[in-house]
Structures are given as C-alpha cells and as structure tokens.
C-alpha cells in the first residue's frame, strides 16, 4: 500500500519539475501552468466554489439533522431520501442537474410556464449562472455526506444532557447553543475537513454541466493530461491541488484543536 502511495507521489513531484521535451529538470512546467489563461480562472472558480458551497452545506445539513432529531413521523423514509445523494458520483450529479439547467431543461420549462423568458443557464456567456448551477449540484450531492456525519455525531450525544438542560430551564435555542452544538464539535470538525478536501477535487460535476467552459483545478489537470497530452503539467496541477488541500487540512486541525483543548481529557 505504501508503494502505491509513495512512489507515485515521488514520481509526481519529479514530473512536475521535468520538462517534457528535454527530460531535464526545469521550472518550465510551472510557468506554463501559471501563464495558461485558464489557470487563474480555475483557481478562482475552485476557491469560490469552496467558499460559497461549504458554509451553505453545513447550515443546510445541521438544519436537516436537527429536523431528524425531532423524530417526525416517517423519519426513516426522510433519512433514506436525504442520504441518497451521498452515494451518487459527482458525474451523475452533474448529469442529473443537467436535465434541469439545460436550455430545454426543466427549470426553463417552469419559467416559461409562468410566462417568463427562458434563460441559458449553462452557456459560457454567463459565468455567474454557470457557477450557480455547479454550486446547486454540489450542494445537492454533498450535503448528504455532511448530514450523515452530523447525524451520527448527534446520536452519540446521550439524550440525558438535552433533557437535563431542559428541566433546568433552557429553552430550545439555549439548549442548541450550550449543549448540542458544542458537543457536536468533533463531528463538525471531521465533516469540515473531509468536505473541504473533497471540494478541491470537484471535477466531473462541472464537466457534465458546463463542459470545458467552467474550469476547475482538477478539471484542468485532466485537460492537460488527456487533451493536451502533457502529463508533466498535469502533474504540476496535481501538486498544487495537493499542497492546497494539505495546507487547508492542517490549518483546520490547528484552529480547531486549540478550541477543543479547552475540554481537557
């Protein structure tokens, strides 16, 4: 297993610095990557996606988990429905929302039904709505992952704490703030790290919805590898992604570990 991980990593690092022409070590590949017009857009899009989608997902997932916690009738069915997207690949998710956002898709059908003009959501001429479409698909797909982590975290909190707080005079919001959320913190941490790391790898969703016109970091990696047939630059992209992912993960752990140190073991 170490072999499968370590060797490619070393290779990858080396490849990033190798010129494809002469085979000598060079920083050329990095230059090509940075100067590519798609690069900045890819970085921007990826970061934008993360900054927007993740907080929305977490808010959404927490609300959903709290709703389930109240045990409405049909809890099992709801949980099933809400967890389905977690097993759907990002490619499939992209295709599913394609049927909605396409020019002749369901969203435009609704608009026309209300007498409004249809809109070309996915065209490269309106990057704003492109982003919106990708964000929607991502929220739809990945919230269930966060949801499952949070729900299992909640189930690990003994009911007694909430009941005790209630008897001692805490209303719902007070209990949420003082008991539930603080005790949920470890789960939230895990979910946050996992989700962010996976978010950096968003790829097929955008491909399915927008094709080439909405560049993302991983998408660019793929493009350099296959279409442009330059695996070295592709490696450079990989390294950049990996570096950012690791930095973010470490950052999260640092920030959140300081806070959790207060709850001494």
């Amino acid at each position: 297993m170490l072999f499968l991980f370590a060797y490619p990593m070393v290779e990858g690092i080396r490849a990033g610095f190798t010129s494809d022409l002469t085979g000598a070590l060079t920083l050329d590949n990095w230059g090509r990557m940075v100067n590519d017009p798609y690069f900045t857009r890819a970085v921007r899009n990826t970061l934008l996606l993360i900054v927007v989608v993740i907080p929305v997902q977490f808010l959404f997932a927490i609300i959903m988990a709290l709703l389930l916690q109240a045990k409405p009738r049909g809890t099992a069915l709801y949980f099933y429905l809400w967890a389905i997207p977690l097993a759907i690949s990002d490619l499939a998710a992209g295709l599913v929302w394609l049927s909605i956002f396409a020019d002749q898709g369901y969203l435009n059908s609704v608009l026309v039904g209300f007498g409004l003009q249809p809109f070309s959501w996915l065209s490269y001429q309106s990057p704003g709505t492109q982003f919106l479409a990708v964000a929607m698909a991502e929220v739809w797909r990945a919230t269930s992952l966060v949801l499952v982590i949070i729900v299992s975290g909640m189930q690990g909190i003994p009911k007694d704490y909430d009941e005790a707080a209630a008897v001692l005079g805490a209303n719902y919001w007070q209990r949420l703030r003082h008991i539930t959320l603080p005790l949920l913190k470890p789960s939230l941490q895990v979910a946050l790290i996992l989700r962010t790391i996976l978010a950096f790898q968003t790829f097929a969703v955008a491909q399915a919805l927008t094709g080439e016109s909405f560049p993302l970091l991983v998408g660019e990696t793929y493009r350099w590898y296959s279409a442009l047939n330059n695996s070295n630059v592709a490696s450079v992209y990989s390294l950049v992604i990996m570096a950012i992912s690791m930095i973010t993960a470490v950052a999260y752990l640092r920030i959140l570990r300081d806070q959790s140190r207060q709850v001494a073991k």
Binding site: P158, D160, Y161, E163, A164, A165, A166, V167, L168, G169, A170, N171, Q174, H178, I179, P182, L183, V263, A264, K265
Partner: protein, 359 residues
Amino acid sequence: MAEIQINNLVKVYPGGSERANDDVSMHIDDGEFMVLLGPSGCGKTTLLRQIAGLELPTSGSIAIGGRDVTYMPVHQRNLSMVFQSYAVFPHRRVRQNIAFPLKMKKLPASDIDKKVAWAAELLQLTPYLDRFPAQLSGGQRQRVAVARAIVLDADVLLMDEPLSNLDALLRLSFLSELKRIVEQIGTTTVYVTHDQSEALSLGDTVAVMRSGKVSQMGGPLDIYDWPADTFVGSFIGSPPMNFLDGILQDGLLDIDGHRFTAPANAPRSGKVRVGIRAEAVGVVDDEGPNTLTATVQVVEPLGASILLTVEVGVHQLKVQAEPTAKTRTGDTVILRISDSAIRLFDPETGLAWLTGDSA
C-alpha cells in the same frame, strides 16, 4: 416550593397497548419528600417524567403550586432534576455546570457566583469548581448533579434513582447526606427508586407502584407494618414478608394443623393468606401457645442476626434469630409467632383484610 396535585393520570405509549400509568392520583404537600417505589416497569419513572414534562400524559392532569402544567413545556415548569446518569455536562467545568440553571434564568453574575459558592460548599465541591467532569470520580459527579439541582430555588426537586450508579458504600454514606441536604433546603421532592431500604429511610411518604397503579401510599412505617396487599408485603422489608396458607375459624387460625389465636377484629372466616415478618418469628426452647415446629434448611449469619430458612409442612419461612443461636442445618426448632404481628390477606386478590387504621 410548591404542592403537586396529580389527577387520574393515564399514560399509554404510542404503539403500546398497556398503560404505563393507569389512573394515578396523588397529592404531594408543599415541602414533602415523596418516594415512588416499585420494580422496573411499574411506571414510577414514567410518572416522574410526566411531572417534569419530558413525557406528555395521554389523559389526566398535573398541577404544581395551583398552576396547571399538564402540557406545559419542560423549561417553563421551574423544576430541578437529578438524573440516574447524572447528566453532568462534560464540556463545561464544575462551576459552569452548577451555574447553568442560574444562567438560563439570566441572573446577574454576582448572584450567580454567590449561589454557586453556597451550593458547592453544601456538597463539599469547593476545591473542584474549576475542574472538568472527566477529572472527577462518579461520586463527585453525583454531587455536581445535586448541587446543580439545588442551586436554583425550584418549586419541585425531582430525582430519578440518583444513587443506583454508586457502589454500595458510597450509596449508604451519600444517602444520609442527601437526606440532610434536602431537609435543610425543604423543597418539595419526588424521588424514584427500586430499592425499598432507600425508600423507607428517605421518604416522608412512600408510594408503592406496580403495573402502572399505586398499590399503597403512606408513611414508611405504616407501609412496613400494615401492607395493603401481598405484593407490598413482599416488596417492602428485607427479608420479604413470609406468607402461609391457613384457615380462620371461630377466632382460631389453623396453619398446617398448628393453632394460633387469630387477630381480634378479623372481618370474616375461611381460607386466608397469613403474612408474618421474619423478626416476628422467634426461636424458643419449649412448645407452648402459638408455636410450631420446623426443620432448618439454610443458616445465614448476617452479623447482627442470623437468618434461618425453615420448612414447615409445605411452607418455607424466613426467621430472624439471635446472633448467638447455635442452630445448624437439619436441626428441628420450635418457633413462636407473635400474634400481634399476624397480617391477614385474601388468598385470591392478595388484598389485606385489615388496614392500619382499624388495628
């Protein structure tokens, strides 16, 4: 402090067919210490939780301090509770745990500090105020739970088997301490337990419950001396009350051929179930009135006394003997029954023929 009035409370769990609480009514005076006692499944915890509001009744009503609280949300009821698992918040220090109810009421910080200090002092927690619960022992966490419950002067204090997770020695010492504290504070208290010795030592009133109903409610000594049915008789007291079958005729009680003087105001004659406590049966040297012979089967030295299990015809009796008795298994002994301690019960329903008032 407030009085509690429970009227015709019925609780059926959704999907269940049995009544967890079957038409329960009781009145608890202001400042009274009421113990709900019974085996598991009898409905005592369900009753407590409905007083707390953690469960809603199917029908009936609960009023605290003259105010109807049957369906009132939990946090508005002005109660306190100590849980069996303590439920001490693990992510807050002891100080913040105790301060929690005060903080929810939004009291000023100086008041909070004062009350927290008072409660901590009362439960000897002052050196631990800045620790986290994970750093405390089980017994100490129990104290935190109690401190947290008494710090706010609630109308009613509820306790759900708070001592059952402690080991035997701690339980005994904390029992008396708990009684002292509750008496000092004087809040109306409802205490749930399955341990009859706890119930007898703590309660002003004990309500023995079985299968969702209250079998008997009264002072500890009354319940001990005059159980209302065979269930209460066998549940209260260690060892449980002995039961023998007999026939009552013309003022004489016939048990397996032995004759005893029957209690004076027995309401009827016929078959009867006789109840007699182990300490009311004594080992004597000679036969005489109200004696019978028995064979010793088990000898259990308990230190302060010796518990004998003896066989009388088809019956088995527990007898409390002097610690110096030299009886051995297989011996034949002569037992005298103290006739003032004889209790009579209906062989079919198990209900007592006489109650304490008519004695």
